[in-house]
Symmetry: none
Subunit: 212 residues, 4 copies
DNA sequence: TATGAATGAGCTTTCATTCAT
DNA sequence: AATGAATGAAAGCTCATTCAT
């Protein structure tokens, strides 16, 4: 029997440290979400912390409790986007089947990520806005993904499921096509993320040309 | 026999009015070129007119002789990029053959444009940096091209040279893949504009998948 | 007996919120006063915010905590001047007696206002320095006063206490004579505001000419 | 018999030096007139030489052929205004009759001057816009006139035609009332300069109050 | 005499960040 | 943890003036 039964429950004006931590985490997440949306909608440079704060019904200075700088917020946005992409890559890598099938799995996942706010951050926010240090970090993320995709395509070429082609160029083409989704995707538009993914798989796998 | 032979040629210290105009034009073009390069390299917001000026060995104020504002420079960059794209579109439209062939022609042209400085401006510089008026102008450019590409693809679908597909999605895919070239193309890299164009034509027409 | 006696008074390092607000108000007022003085002394255009700030031992940017722009400071100066004038007008309107007596009351009040800093702003600072919107606001102030004075004079003409005359011209004459005080009044000069008021009442009522 | 008859008249492409000088003078006068109008209409600080030039269908640089600086143009405007005032003063001084009559004569003249462009310059353009040197010059003009008017009024007081009053205050009152004309006079308004002058004479001489 | 171009000095405003409370 | 206030470091733009032609 715990103390609770002996002493009775009551609402302490001091919150549980766990509550505290959870609340802090929730607020931090809210900052990120709102900031990411505004960065995507207006661009990083034109988003003022004062606006982010006012959308959160708080003050500029309060944001510094959760992030050490505006740039740190952006870096975290990139990190979350990257995290989602890596999941897709991982699931692609573990997909059974030939290289082409792994690539197709990647395409599906990557398309979905590009319709999310943090996914859009990866490509819609110009990493040249960052300081050199942060820029290198972010470019590292992108380079990693790039390498992984190249590997998948090379695999497909090797196993004959993908036509012989310049792997570097093919990688850029696939990534570019999908990255661009972040610029045109509209959640209220005619097709949802999954449908877009299927169409991209089909078009990228089989091309535009009709088979004779 | 003219006076020249009698009097002898000499270099007048007064320049021809035509020379004057040509010099002005040359300077204006230099401003544009340098500014476009810096906008692409650093982003518009982070490019300071003072830096542009100093690269041109002149002063900030002198730039205002040629352009009425920083934004006007950017708008002109967009315009020049758009101009090049439209030429490509026009040549695609007049290409003989089925829809697919026209689209292929467009791909080749558009790829080349995206390796040029002004072409890169179209996609690498965020149009949200612009004032509402200018933004609408620039978005109009992009919308136009979009419509034209959709038309070409729809034509191909209609004449059977392109597989039945969602025209809107296919257009975004093709444009996105090519737009992205502006982000990775390196003039000192392994492949030149024409080669990239050929590879894009092949990959976009026939897809990644090997034919069984 | 309250706690104070038990615990003893002490100076808290935390200031009362009311103090806070009062301090803010005091600072805002100080900005206005210093700015108004400098606007009157040097002209609006030639007064630099940096100078205003340095006279207040603060920084340019700090001024923006209290006012959104240089123009907003000026508009507030005009408003305060106008406020004082309106009080005078109101007291003139409620003065018992014939129209002439009301006008005389107005003259006294208006003369006093014109010897104050904010009063001077009304006429010494050129309202053409303002943006169109603010200009209209300020001109509205002036028009209002003008109308009220015309009404008082017309009243006097109607009740026979003022000689028949062109009301519009008479209004301009009276206002002009008093407005001009702002250009010559010197607080260290031989006559104070009240004395000036009396002399103006006398001269404007009875004229220069000796009675035969 | 002159050469003309012997040699015949012809239109020389080289103009007469006198023509030259006359043309120069005409252009200089045009600059002054346009500048004065714009100074009065928009304020000195907000009038750009480029605008003055463009109204004259010439260039900014060309203005420097006629005046050494923007300030020099303004000083000349003041000088022309002052000249007109001095004529009025002179005619007042030579008017036969008592002091009051001289003052009345001055009022008439000064009213007329204040409806002219250069006259308006004297009061509508803030002399604080000038550099210290030029400012002293201009203030000298104004002081002179002031002294002269004081003298006239004192004369009237001495000869009994003007009521005993504080001469300094009376001078300021008269001048202020008239100076203000420059702020409200409208050439398309209901009364012309002469009529305004008569009304001012009447009001300033006999006052507002009805005689009992 | 006239001009197109260039310039330098200046000024308001913005905003991320810090600090005292 | 939160806030109101303060700050410094820009940066774009303006405009009278100068200069080469």
């Amino acid at each position: 029997m715990g103390d609770a039964q002996v002493l009775g429950e009551f609402a302490s004006p001091w919150r549980d440290p766990a509550d505290r931590a959870a609340e802090r985490e929730a607020k931090r997440a809210a900052v990120l979400r709102v900031a990411a949306e505004m960065f995507v909608a207006r661009g990083y440079g034109r988003t003022k912390l004062a606006d982010v704060a006012s959308r959160l019904k708080t003050t500029k200075a309060a944001l510094y409790t959760y992030f050490e700088s505006k740039e740190a917020i952006l870096v975290e946005c990139y990190r979350l986007g990257d995290l989602a992409v890596r999941e897709g890559v991982a699931s692609a890598e573990t997909t059974a089947g030939a290289g082409l099938e792994k690539v197709q799995r990647f395409i599906r996942c990557y398309c979905e990520v590009m319709t999310t706010t943090f996914g859009k951050c990866l490509n819609r926010i110009d990493d040249r806005e960052l300081s050199p240090g942060a820029r290198e970090l972010v470019r590292g993320y992108k380079r990693d993904v790039d390498q992984l995709v190249r590997r998948l395509i090379a695999l497909g070429v090797a196993d004959g499921s993908i036509r012989p082609c310049d792997v570097r160029t093919a990688t850029f083409l696939v990534e570019g096509a999908i990255n661009w989704i972040g610029f045109w995707y509209d959640p209220n538009g005619p097709s949802g993320p999954a449908e877009i993914g299927e169409r991209f798989v089909s078009l990228l796998s089989d091309g535009l040309a009709a088979r004779k």
